[in-house]
Amino acid sequence: MGIFNFFSKEKKEKLDQGLEKTKSSLFDKISKALVGKSAIDDEFLDNLEEILVSSDVGIETTLRIIERLQARVAKDKYVGVGELNNLLKDEIGKLLDENKSNIPTDFSDLKGVKPYVVMVVGVNGVGKTTTIGKMANQYKKAGKKVVLGAGDTFRAAAVEQLKIWGTRNDVDVISHGMNTDPASVAFDTVKHAVEIGADVAIIDTAGRLHNKIGLMNELSKIKRVMQKVTQDAPHEILLVLDASTGQNAFEQAKQFTAATEVNALALTKLDGTAKGGVVIGVADQFKIPVKYIGVGEGIEDLQLFNKQEFVDSLFKG
C-alpha cells in the first residue's frame, strides 16, 4: 500500500467528499432499512435493490450482490446492522477483485519494461486527454521520463490540448497535427520513446463511440502499428469510463476490449454526484481492474484506485 503515501491526506479527503455527497445517503438508507430488523426480509432487499440500482450498479449486478449477500447471511448467521454492512462491503469488494490483468499497480515499478507503452481509449468526452495530462504528472513525480503521443487527430484542437498538458508537465509531445494518421503518430511516439530512452510513452486517441466499426478497427490498427517498434507494446490499454455513464459502460467495455484487449480501467469525474457504480459490474464481468480514478480537473486530481477506500467511501456515513 506504499503507493498511497503519494497522496496527501487532502487528496483522500477530496475523494471522500466527492463520493460522500450521494454515497452517505446510501448508508443512511441502508441503516434506515435495517431499523428494528433482526433478519434480512423482503423490505430490506427491496431497499437495497433501490439503493444499488440508483447508484448505476445495474439490475444484473445488483441481483448478483444480493444473491451473494443472502448466501453469506445464511452461512454466517447475520446479527446486526454493522455486521451486515461489512458483509455487503466485502461482497462488493470481491466483485472488484477478480481480474486477470497483471499490469503495474503504481507509477514507480514498471516491472522492468522500458518504454512502458500506454494506449488510452474511450468514447467521446470521458476525459482521456485530461487523464493523460494527470498521468504524465504522476509518472514524472515518480522519476520517470515520459513521452506523450497526440493521437487524437480528429477532434478540433485536441492536439493543442495535449500539447498544453505536455508543457505543463515539461514532457515531449509527438504530434503530426490535425487530420493526420493516428497510427503513424503512435508509431513515432513509441519510436521516439525508444530513441530518447524514455520510461513511459502514453498515446492519446480520438474519442469514438464503440458502435462505429470503422473507428474501432482504426484502434486495432493503431495498436498493431506500435508493435512494429516494440513487439509487446502497448503494455497497458486503458479504457476511460465517465462515472456518470449508466449501463452503456458495459457495451463500451465489451467493444473496446474486443478491439484492443483493454487491461485497465480509469473512472473519471468521481468528484461529482455520479456514483460510478457501473464499474463494479464492468470490472466483474470483464475481469479488468480499475487502475485510476479521476477526482477533478487539476493536474493532481488522479489517484490510483484503492478497492478498500472505494468501497469504504461508498458506505461512508
Partner: protein
C-alpha cells in the same frame, strides 16, 4: 438507438399474447419486465416505477371498453405514456430577441463545444447570421477548439485569450454581436459539476449578464441514474429552457431522455447524432416514443433527405435519368448527397422494422468507397459514355481503383440495369399523359 429497449418491451408484450384480456395477474409480470427494461436503459429508478404504475392503471381501466388484443392495447398505452413522458409536442427553439442569446451549459465532456458549433451551423442554414462566443477559459485548448469549428463553418467566433473572466467575456461578446449585427449569439461555457458551488455561481452570473432567450442544458445520452440529480441542480441555478441530448448515434438506450423531462419539466429540443457538423436533429417526442417501441422513424429520414438533397440538382438528375442521359458523374454526385445525410446505419435504423435487423450489422460509412474509387479511376470520357469501356479499359480501371475486374464489371452492369429501368419508367410516364382520360388515370 433505443433498439435494445424496444426488444425487451416486445418480449414483455409477447408474454401477454394469447390472453383474452388484461387482468391484474397477467399485467403484473409484463409491468415488471417493462420496468426492468427501462432501468436497464438508464431510466431513473423512481421514474420507471411511476411510469409502469401509470401504465398499469390505464391498462386495467381500459380493458373493459375495447376489443383489441391485450398486447395491442398495451403497445398503445405504453406508446402514449412514453410520448407524454418524453415531452408531448415538439418544441422549437426560441429565436426572439436581437440578438437571440443562447447559453450552453452542462457537465464536462457532454458535448457543449461541439453542439455550440452544430447549433451555429443549424441556424446559419436557416439563414440567420450567427456568432459564437468562447467562454470556456478552463479546459486547455477549449477556445482553440471553438475557433477551429467556427472557421470550418465560416461563423465568427468571439474570444479573448487574455481574459480569464467568463462573465466579462460573455458581456463583451454580446456587445460585439450587436455591433456586428449578428442575429444569434451562441455562448459556449466550461463544463462544470453541479456540486461545484463556485462554478455554478459563475454560470448563474453569466446568465444574469446576458439575459439569454435560450439556456440549453447539454447532456450525454449515455448518462445513468445521475441524470436526474444533475438536471435538477442545473435547473435550480439556471432555470434552463431546453435540453440537447448528445451522442445518440451510440447504442445507448438513452433512458436519460425519459428521466430528465419528467424531473425538470423542460423540453428536449435537439439531439446530437454524430461528430459531423450536420449531425444535429430537432427532437420529436412522438417519433422517439415510436422509435422506442420499434416502429421506426421514417419522418426524420425524409426530412434529412430533403435538407441534404439539392432540389434543383435532384430535378436535373431526374430529367437526365428519364432521358437516358444519366452518366457516372451524376451517379457520383448522388453518392455524395447520400453520404451527406449521415451515417448509413443510422439512416437504416430509421426505417420501420429495420432498426432491430441492423442492430448487429456491420455497415460502415465506407460502403461507397469501392464504387467511388472505380468512378474516380475512369476518364471523363468514360464517365460520360460508359459504353466505350472495353476490356482493356476495365483492366486499367480495376488496377487504378485497387479493385478487381469483377467489381468493375458488376458496377457497370448495375449502372446499365439502372439506366434501362429508368428509360422504361420514362417511357411509361410519357405514355401516362395520354392515359388521363381512362378510368384509373389521373
Amino acid at each position: 438507438m433505443f433498439e435494445n429497449l424496444s426488444g425487451k418491451i416486445e418480449k414483455a408484450f409477447k408474454m401477454l399474447k394469447g390472453q383474452g384480456k388484461i387482468t391484474e395477474i397477467n399485467v403484473a409480470e409484463t409491468m415488471k419486465e417493462i420496468r426492468k427494461a427501462l432501468i436497464d436503459a438508464d431510466v431513473n429508478y423512481k421514474i420507471a416505477k411511476t411510469f409502469t404504475d401509470t401504465v398499469k392503471e390505464k391498462a386495467l381501466g381500459q380493458n373493459v371498453l375495447t376489443s383489441v388484443s391485450p398486447s395491442q392495447l398495451m403497445v398503445k398505452i405504453v406508446n402514449d405514456e412514453l410520448t407524454e413522458l418524453l415531452g408531448g409536442k415538439t418544441e422549437d427553439i426560441n429565436l426572439t430577441g436581437n440578438p437571440t442569446v443562447i447559453l450552453m451549459a452542462g457537465l464536462q465532456g457532454s458535448g457543449k463545444t461541439t453542439h455550440s458549433a452544430k447549433l451555429a451551423n443549424f441556424l446559419k442554414k436557416k439563414g440567420r447570421s450567427v456568432m459564437l462566443a468562447a467562454c470556456d477559459v478552463y479546459r486547455p485548448a477549449a477556445i482553440e477548439q471553438l475557433k477551429v469549428l467556427g472557421a470550418q463553418l465560416d461563423v465568427p467566433v468571439f474570444f479573448e485569450m487574455e481574459n480569464k473572466n467568463p462573465v466579462s467575456i460573455a458581456q463583451n461578446a454580446l456587445k460585439a454581436a450587436k455591433e456586428a449585427n449578428a442575429k444569434v449569439l451562441i455562448v459556449d461555457t466550461a463544463g462544470r459539476l453541479s456540486i461545484d458551488e463556485e462554478m455554478m455561481a459563475e454560470i448563474g452570473n453569466i446568465k444574469k449578464a446576458l439575459n439569454p432567450q435560450e439556456i440549453l442544458f447539454v447532456v450525454d445520452a449515455m448518462t445513468g441514474q445521475d441524470a436526474v440529480n444533475t438536471a435538477k441542480a442545473f435547473n435550480d441555478v439556471l432555470d434552463f429552457t431546453g435540453v440537447i441530448l448528445t451522442k445518440l448515434d451510440g447504442d445507448t438506450r438513452g433512458g436519460a431522455a425519459l428521466s430528465i423531462k419528467s424531473i425538470v419539466n423542460k423540453p428536449i429540443k435537439f439531439m446530437g447524432m454524430g461528430e459531423k457538423m450536420e449531425a444535429l436533429d430537432t427532437f420529436h417526442p412522438d417519433r422517439m416514443a415510436q422509435r422506442i417501441l420499434g416502429m421506426g422513424d421514417i419522418v426524420s429520414l425524409v426530412e434529412r433527405a430533403q435538407e441534404v438533397f439539392d432540389e434543383q440538382e435532384a430535378e436535373k438528375i431526374q430529367k437526365k435519368l428519364l432521358k437516358d442521359q444519366f452518366t457516372f458523374e451524376d451517379f457520383y454526385t448522388q453518392i455524395q448527397q447520400i453520404k451527406k445525410m449521415g451515417n448509413l446505419k443510422d439512416l437504416m435504423g430509421m426505417i420501420p422494422g429495420v432498426g432491430k435487423a441492423v442492430k448487429d450489422l456491420d455497415i460502415s460509412d465506407d460502403a461507397f468507397k469501392g464504387i467511388e474509387a472505380i468512378i474516380n479511376s475512369m476518364t471523363p470520357g468514360e464517365r460520360k459514355t460508359p459504353d466505350i469501356i472495353n476490356g482493356s479499359r476495365r483492366k486499367r480501371i480495376a488496377s487504378g481503383s485497387g479493385t478487381d475486374i469483377q467489381q468493375v464489371n458488376q458496377l457497370l452492369k448495375q449502372f446499365e440495369d439502372m439506366r434501362k429501368m429508368m428509360k422504361s419508367i420514362g417511357k411509361m410516364q410519357g405514355a401516362g399523359r395520354s392515359m388521363r382520360g381512362m378510368p384509373f388515370g389521373r
